[in-house]
Structures are given as C-alpha cells and as structure tokens.
C-alpha cells in the first residue's frame, strides 16, 4: 500500500500531532501544529530571543528554519501513511534561502509528501514569515520509510 490516502486515519492524525509538537527538539523550539491533511502538514515556529541567528538584525537563525522544514517534511510523510503508520529518517534535504525572515518574525512551514514508495518518501516544502506568497525558503527532500514488520 503505497498510495497516499484520501483521508488521514485517526491513528495517523494522532501520531502526526504528537510528533509535531512533543518531540524534544520540536518542544525546545516551541513548534505549533497548524494543520494535517493527506500527505500534507504545516507547523509554525515562533520568534524567540535565544533563537536569533544574526544579532545585528534580530533575524531568526537559519538552523531553526532547517529544523522546522525537516520536521514539517516528516509530518507530511506521516500524514501520507495509510492505516499502517510508519516512521521516517531524512536521507537528504536541500534548502534554498530566498531571503532572511523579517526581524523578530516567526516562521511557518508547509510540506507536501507527493509520493511514497515501499522505502522512500519524496517531499517538497516551503517556509514564510508573514505571507505565504512571499517565501523565505523552499526545500526538497527524500526520506527513508521505516515500516513496522518489514
């Protein structure tokens, strides 16, 4: 079963919501779940003083955006699972930074897992600070799918 289902089963939704916010790194960055749909997920990360990457501008660190994009891609993979949830590990992730986020602005990411095979999930993601038509970063990743009992 490798097709992305039409709906997100409850068990998958619960697992996705859990991983979006309670994984230690996600909790440490204050991630908030925005939405989960079949093969799609969205998470936001608030601006915080201790997460600044450039003290001259107070812009949030690229590393936070990296974690957010990676995590949101993982969420989209989880949301692409059918009735049998699986976990994923990042194989590769490419991120393009179009511009820095606005000073003291948080970041929201949305990811789309558009194909899952037995072993690999393919994902695209975008991140923005204020307006989702004015992106700060885009990402493309491949994730290894770890299915139970295989």
């Amino acid at each position: 079963m490798t097709d992305i289902p039409q709906t997100v089963p409850d068990i998958v939704r619960q697992m996705a919501e859990h991983m979006a916010t309670t994984v230690p790194q996600a909790a440490a960055l204050g991630f908030r779940l925005v939405s989960v749909e079949p093969g799609r997920g969205s998470i936001s990360a608030p601006w915080r003083e201790d997460l600044v990457g450039d003290p001259d501008t107070d812009v949030i660190a690229g590393g936070v955006v990296t974690s957010l994009l990676d995590h949101t891609c993982g969420l989209a993979c989880a949301a692409a699972a059918g009735t049998e949830p699986f976990s994923t590990a990042t194989l590769d992730l490419r991120i393009d930074y179009m511009r820095p986020a606005a000073p003291r602005a948080g970041v929201t990411a949305a990811a789309h897992c558009y194909k899952v095979t037995r072993t690999i999930a393919f994902v695209r993601a975008e991140a923005w600070d204020v307006d989702n038509s004015d992106l700060i970063a885009t990402a493309q990743g491949a994730f290894v799918v770890n299915r139970p009992n295989t």
Partner: protein
C-alpha cells in the same frame, strides 16, 4: 580583530542560536573543529534516541558560517544561499564533531563542504554542501 581565535570566539558568543544548540569550537591554526555535545533538547526521535535531522543540518550550517567568519575576518554573519544535507547514519546521543572545507571563496559567494562524525572520523554521520553570500567581501 584579525586573530582567528578571537574571531571565532566573537562569532560563537555573538550568535544566540549557537548558545541554544550548545555548540563549541576548537581551533588549530586556521582549521576549526566544531563540537556539539549531546543534549536532551536536540533529540528528534525519543524511541531511537536519535538527534533531530534538522539539528544536524543546523550544526553543519553553523560550522560553515563559523569557519567563514574565522577565515574572512568579519564579525558579520554571512548569509546562507542554499544547503544540501546528506544523512549517512543516525546521529546517536553522543558528542558530534564537524569540520568545514572552504572549497572556493570568491568575491561574493563561498562554496563550503562540511562533514560531521561522532565516534570515528571515517564513519561520518552527515555531509553538507552549501553556498554562502559573503557579507563583507574582501
């Protein structure tokens, strides 16, 4: 402020996110080794006790930026244009090390490769290739 050790210390002290990660660095001449001690808030998978993939990517990116600040002698933080992170092994809850190789530093753009490992240098856990926009061209 052109002493590499001072330059590095200034970079590590100035960037709040470096302190959030708990990242340190050691310098041998102009070659830097970045060090990321394991910490509970860096974990991405409690079941496997694996470091978060984003943390590994962020650590590699900060290593590239720190090495650029040492070599370029600028207190300003350079801007990331793009990064590609390749994951080879799970990051275990151990100290992670990274070294950056400045493959080309042009007038405006630098191409940097970074390698991360834990217990054995010949068993890398991740690589990063990236382009960085130099904020203070020489």
């Amino acid at each position: 402020m052109s002493d590499p050790a001072e330059q590095l210390e200034a970079f590590l002290q100035r960037v709040p996110y470096v302190r959030f990660l708990g990242m340190r660095a050691e310098l041998s001449g102009d070659e830097m080794t970045a060090i990321l001690p394991a910490a509970p808030h860096l974990v991405g998978n409690t079941f496997l006790q694996a470091l978060h993939g984003g943390v590994i990517g962020a650590f590699l990116e900060m290593t590239a930026l720190a090495q650029l600040s040492v070599t370029q002698g600028s207190a300003k933080v350079h801007k990331t244009i793009d990064v590609t992170i390749e994951y080879l092994r799970p990051g275990r809850p151990l100290t992670t090390y990274a070294r950056a190789d400045l493959r080309k530093v042009g007038r405006r753009v630098a191409n940097v490769h970074v390698e991360a490992w834990q217990e054995a240098r010949d068993q890398p856990i991740a690589f990063l290739r990236g382009h960085f926009l130099l904020s203070d061209p020489k």
